[in-house]
Symmetry: C2
Subunit: 228 residues, 2 copies
């Protein structure tokens, strides 16, 4: 196996050797892409803002976050991508956002150039890709409503419901991301996120089984709090 000896601690910068090109192609959870899988360690960058645009990706396992930074370090995460999700579409030739692995993550990447070459793919392929982009757009617009118009408690409740809907076990949600990432997704601070978790606990809407494992006790309460 190409497995390297040591995975870095989360503070050391990642070397190229940390990113593993897997030997065998693996079937992706959903069918529209196949390609050479790559494995990224927790916290590593898949691509960065300003880099040339070359590939689009599908998550095989793990979680990816798409984010943008302001010069002073403030960060907004625009979305989390789970197994089966496609990310990395660009309209121009340069990346406008960065993509990072939240935990150790396997993705399959595909050269845009070859996908885009006329003759290689049918109209239905581009219709499918158009659908992916439109759904992503819809999600980002919905998130804009959450961030622009909801209170801190409503945002956290909405986040938990979103993660629950996308989870294999809707009543016991594994949050693979730290509080800081949740905060940067919701436009809050990590302290406020923590306080809102505590408040939802008092409302008996959730129970925490360790910081990253949330049991949803009262989905109706959560939905009411979230103001859908």
């Amino acid at each position: 196996m190409l497995q390297h000896a040591e995975v870095s601690s989360s503070l050391r910068p990642f070397a190229k050797s940390d990113i593993r090109l897997d030997k065998r192609p693996a079937a992706a959870p959903s069918a529209i892409l196949s390609g050479m899988p790559m494995t990224y360690p927790r916290g590593s960058e898949i691509y960065g803002e300003g880099e040339p645009f070359g590939h689009i990706y599908q998550v095989v396992s793990g979680v990816v976050r798409i984010a943008k930074l302001l010069p002073d370090g403030r960060r907004q995460i625009t979305g989390f991508y789970l197994p089966g999700d496609i990310f990395g579409l660009e309209a121009g030739d340069v990346r406008h956002f960065s993509a990072e692995a939240v935990v150790q993550t396997k993705v399959v990447g595909f050269r845009w150039q070859s996908l885009n070459a006329t003759g290689t793919h049918s109209i239905s392929f581009f219709q499918e890709l158009l659908n992916v982009a439109i759904k992503d757009l819809r999600h980002t617009q919905a998130q804009l409503l959450v961030v622009g118009r909801k209170s801190a408690l409503e945002r956290v409740a909405a986040f938990l419901l979103e993660m629950s809907e996308r989870s294999a076990s809707p009543d016991l949600v594994e949050l693979s991301m730290p509080r800081h990432d949740i905060a940067d997704y919701l436009g809050l601070t990590l302290e406020t996120v923590s306080r809102m978790f505590a408040e939802l606990k008092e409302l008996k809407a959730i129970a925490l089984e360790g910081a990253r494992r949330v049991r949803l006790l009262d989905r109706d309460c959560l939905a009411g709090v979230s103001t859908n």
Copy 2:
């Protein structure tokens, strides 16, 4: 002419007769769509959340806002669409957001069903549509950063720079939307928007020539305030 006798005041609901189906097809500013133009009076709905998805549109003249409401009336505007812009793409068969004319607005609409019929259009048509969706996605992601992470003053400065870039006369920007719409686009209240305009005036970054006409005096100052 099909012009109806009276256009409503902004509080009365719009009748179907308020929406004018123009007699002659008009060339759209950009080339990928052509169709029957429709004219909507100021404040009227082009489509509403929950309605079936039938058409996509291109703005010919005027301004369109895309918005979503919470049950209690809070509203988030996700974007303003100017002449040449395409809006109204959906992934499913139902509208997730509403579209309204900010001022009297002319659009051309196209049946999605016929656009989407195989054989009617080439791959490059769908590639072009994919580009439209991706650019819209990028814009919404950027707006999420503005709303999630910037201060009120930064948001208003960013808004003015955005409108300036999209304006025919970049130094004298015509804002066709009221303060309330700007607030709902930026995730603020109209009072705060008004105060931030006043603050930018004190900084000599802008001058107001009536509430809807903004002269940009110091673009560098605006860009500095906006923290790009």
